[in-house]
Homo-oligomer: 69 residues x 12
């Protein structure tokens, strides 16, 4: 049987930019997931406060290998 | 590090309508999830029996805060 | 309350073809999931090595009944 | 040979709401079709008159079993 | 019950242009349909022969009122 | 010269449902716009608080006739 | 006037695979249609029973020449 | 700070064709806007009366330079 | 009646990057708008001159609260 | 082995209209390509100068037979 | 500088099925390209003759490493 | 005859971010292409290694003027 991967969808946030928002999401996911192999950016949004960007939000899917015992 | 959210995809069903189908899905998710913050309707479908709508089906994504200990 | 389903996204791989890649993903998911009812093919990709298809990759969503106790 | 279904596209209208617009379409289709099994909502639009919603319009596809004699 | 419309999909062709291709499709449909109310252009394609456009193809959906007796 | 319409994008919100959210948006738009003729639902989202739908959000475009003096 | 084609949407099913599901749909359509010229695969889905693919479902559109007498 | 543009969405109509419908929309917009730089066709629709195209409708977005004083 | 928001579409440009292009657009919008709450990135493009990126262009929608007096 | 085609993406421009823009692109491509068989319109845009359409732009893909020696 | 890949779009055809159509396209491309690494299926279509599938057509993009000397 | 442009699709990669990945792709393309005028970001992906982003990947199309002699 071929390898099987699962993808989950995360929303990373950052006050600095989209790369940092992506890293936040992956860093958080790393606490419970092993074998992450790739990600895809699905949406880029953000929050505005006092007429300025308050938060960048990157909606990403992360793919990781399913390892059954 | 910025806050990180996860989204999952649910299909709520109802004999009454789409708002009720959405509520079913969120009520069920509430049994195991905390920190749900928003949802998005991705698809609206339904089943037909005896020439009548038998079931409304709302495919939604639900976003919730990831809280790592 | 109406029935509620959840969908997850899997990537099945195979050296034979897309139907086999789909079966790999569902077979793997069956190790931890019960009540799988349907799937949808979202993307079809593949890897190439030495000028030949080395792997078919089927990205699918799988829907299953949520059963709360 | 496996079962074969056909889908047609209908636009149901209602002054009450989208569920009612969907029911209108299916009720009308039931006059000439048998074996309707599911529907999908493709678009939701509406007409406005005198600054108020005058009509909800649900564009749906309806699937039904093809029965050849 | 609100009015119900049906839409069908046609491909009109023309050597002159897309408006003419659309008119071809509607003219042909008019032989069997009554109550056509609107159309939407879904795709625009064409055939090439001898390095020149040989045919414009307009894929359109046409909506018409369903009148049950 | 043919008639010209403009469309704007609004987000109506409601604690009751999507039809009510749409009506909120159109009622608000009516304070400054004349000649609204149609709307299209582009997205349906919502907010969740305390494990329940707190708000339905309908993102719609509204079309109205441009009348130049 | 240029040639005019119509397209219809069918769902073919098979326990073997997608090519077989497509053939089922076209074979069934051939009982009432003449002049079929092309098809397009729009969606690929399937049913799952007992943790295995029970049915492949190919949603296709089929184009055929409209011949008016 | 880099230049900033705004885009608005217009629906131009014409009995002649899509290019004319686009021109109608831009001509009307020119009465109140300066600095229009580009447009994009988003949708092409039309009205049918007496089995003939009664009106071509081009939904376009128009981009123009925002000039703050 | 629930709160109502409006969204507009802006194109911010920058020689530095997309975050800067987004900020340009929001900074410019802030000169005439109050109550901006969120943005969404719809497209990312750019201009090239002398074989180098000359300008990053971020097409965004900005949502703000409609406040009627 | 079955026939193999390649598609390339071109942007034709014209001051007259979209059919003319398409023809420009195909005429230019004909200088270096043989065996062009079909095209598809992917986007329609345009430039505006002095409040008038200055240029129609048709983004098309063109398919041609790959002939290996 | 990071690695750079190029993708091209091919249409493979086969009388047997989609996997075979994909292989045809890649086999043909291999005559002039080196370093092919992945492919993505973009569309699946086919030709019909005498009420049967006459040809499967797989529209794929193929990615390969750009190697500059 | 109007100007004609061609677009090609490239995947730029970088360990730093998306702007850098875009620049890599354009820098590489500049070795063989003249007259590049614009680019569009189509997809943003990335590779993950050891629970960290190992590579940003920007899939872009690049448009350049076709100059026939």
């Amino acid at each position: 049987m071929g390898k099987v991967y699962k993808t989950i969808t995360l929303v990373g946030t950052s006050t600095k930019g989209y790369e940092d928002a992506i890293n936040s999401a992956i860093e958080e996911a790393a606490k419970t997931l092993k074998g992450m192999a790739w990600f895809e950016v699905k949406e880029m949004r953000g929050g505005i406060k006092d007429n300025k960007v308050a938060e960048y939000q990157a909606i990403i899917t992360v793919g990781f290998l399913l390892i059954s015992e």
